[in-house]
């Protein structure tokens, strides 16, 4: 098996390496990927059309809005799937009992985490809110916010973190995030545009159609951040306790 694997890997690797003969060299601005019509449009027209300087966020939340919407749904389904796979819905095991003896880490770790946690959370919210002007966005900020709750669970014990961010609340957050995203698209439909065509929202938002797209990106990113935060914490708490949620790491 090992020999067969090694041979297969070498053959595939040599094929891939021989294919790189035709690829453009490192950093070539005239390569097909970088010089194509689509990429050039995104670079040259993003700020003129949407007033958003961060092209990555603009492409993610506006030009390719469908992609990101279903991406959020993928995360949500993964979170639901983990719960469905791990939790035993039959018998007495199904009731969630929070373990009150679970005190988490030692005194020093708890004290340090209580100092750091507010700053982590504020920075995460900044990354979400400023994501269309500087590096950042809903996924990145959401992961940071989720990680801050994971840190809380590691330092103070899962039971305390679950009292703040309970299983029910996690799922409500995840659903609310998707509803914000989809609802914003439906709002565009109601105002006479296409689904996720933010420029028709200028009648209810301050500024012109371009500013409406900029604001809409912020709203959509907030929706993504809700879902990602909730599912990250849900994934951690379920995986670290085998779905019992009773005693964490």
């Amino acid at each position: 098996m090992k020999v067969f694997g090694l041979v297969a890997v070498f053959v595939v690797g040599l094929l891939l390496l021989s294919a790189t003969q035709d690829f453009p060299s490192w950093g070539n601005p005239r390569s097909a990927a970088s010089d194509g019509e689509v990429s050039s449009f995104y670079i040259e027209k993003t700020e003129a059309v949407t007033k958003v300087p961060n092209m990555v966020t603009a492409v993610l939340a506006d030009f390719r809005g469908y992609d990101t919407m279903f991406e959020t749904v993928v995360i949500f389904i993964a979170g639901i799937g983990i719960i469905a796979v791990l939790r035993n819905f039959e018998g007495s095991d199904s009731s969630i009992d929070y373990d009150n003896d679970d005190n988490g880490a030692g005194l020093l770790a708890r004290f340090t985490c209580s100092l750091i946690l507010p700053f982590i959370q504020i920075f995460a919210l900044y990354v979400v809110a400023h994501g269309h002007h500087s590096p950042g966005g809903g996924f990145q900020g959401g992961v940071m916010l989720g990680a801050s709750y994971i840190l809380l669970a590691l330092a103070f014990g899962l039971s305390k973190a679950k009292r703040i961010f309970s299983e029910r609340r996690t799922m409500i957050f995840a659903v609310v995030g998707i509803f914000i995203y989809v609802g914003w698209g439906v709002l565009c439909l109601l105002l006479g545009g296409e689904f996720l065509n933010y420029s028709v929202l200028d009648s209810i938002l301050p500024g012109d159609a371009m500013m409406a797209r900029s604001y809409s990106m912020l709203v959509v990113e907030i929706g993504v951040a809700f879902t990602v935060t909730a599912i990250m914490f849900s994934m951690y708490s379920n995986l670290s306790t085998r779905g019992r949620l009773s005693k964490g790491l």
Partner: protein
Amino acid sequence: MDPIIANFIEENIVPKFNYWIYVILMMIGLYAMITKNNLIKKLIGMAIFQTAIILFYVSIGVKEDGGIPIISHHGPDHHQETEAHSEAGSENLKHNIIDKDKYANPLPHVLMLTAIVVGVSTLGLALAISQRIHKSFGTLEEDEILNKLRPGGHD
């Protein structure tokens, strides 16, 4: 050094080292997925495989003089230019023309943001399923699981 080897390195490895790194990383992941017996090690291989693809995509978005794909009106781009260039630069700024060679290609970054999210989702779900397998079979070794699944096998 042998001139043939030196020539090969000069022409094929130096200008395309990003592809070499991605192929090597990807093959490490593939090897782990094919040959490892432990399910968690297979998952680690899958994660390495995904990382290699992310590296490949991001590296084809790089441009030699390009910065991050965020339009900056007061960033270092406008200060580093020489006299002749800065005149042209301010001219461009007046007419709101953006030089696309000054920014990295944003499209691979967006696609890979998506791929990272899919990677997290698949990895999380795969870990959950392997916990379930461990609960049912008491092991994560593939051959032992197959042995227990066989009709004549014990358990």
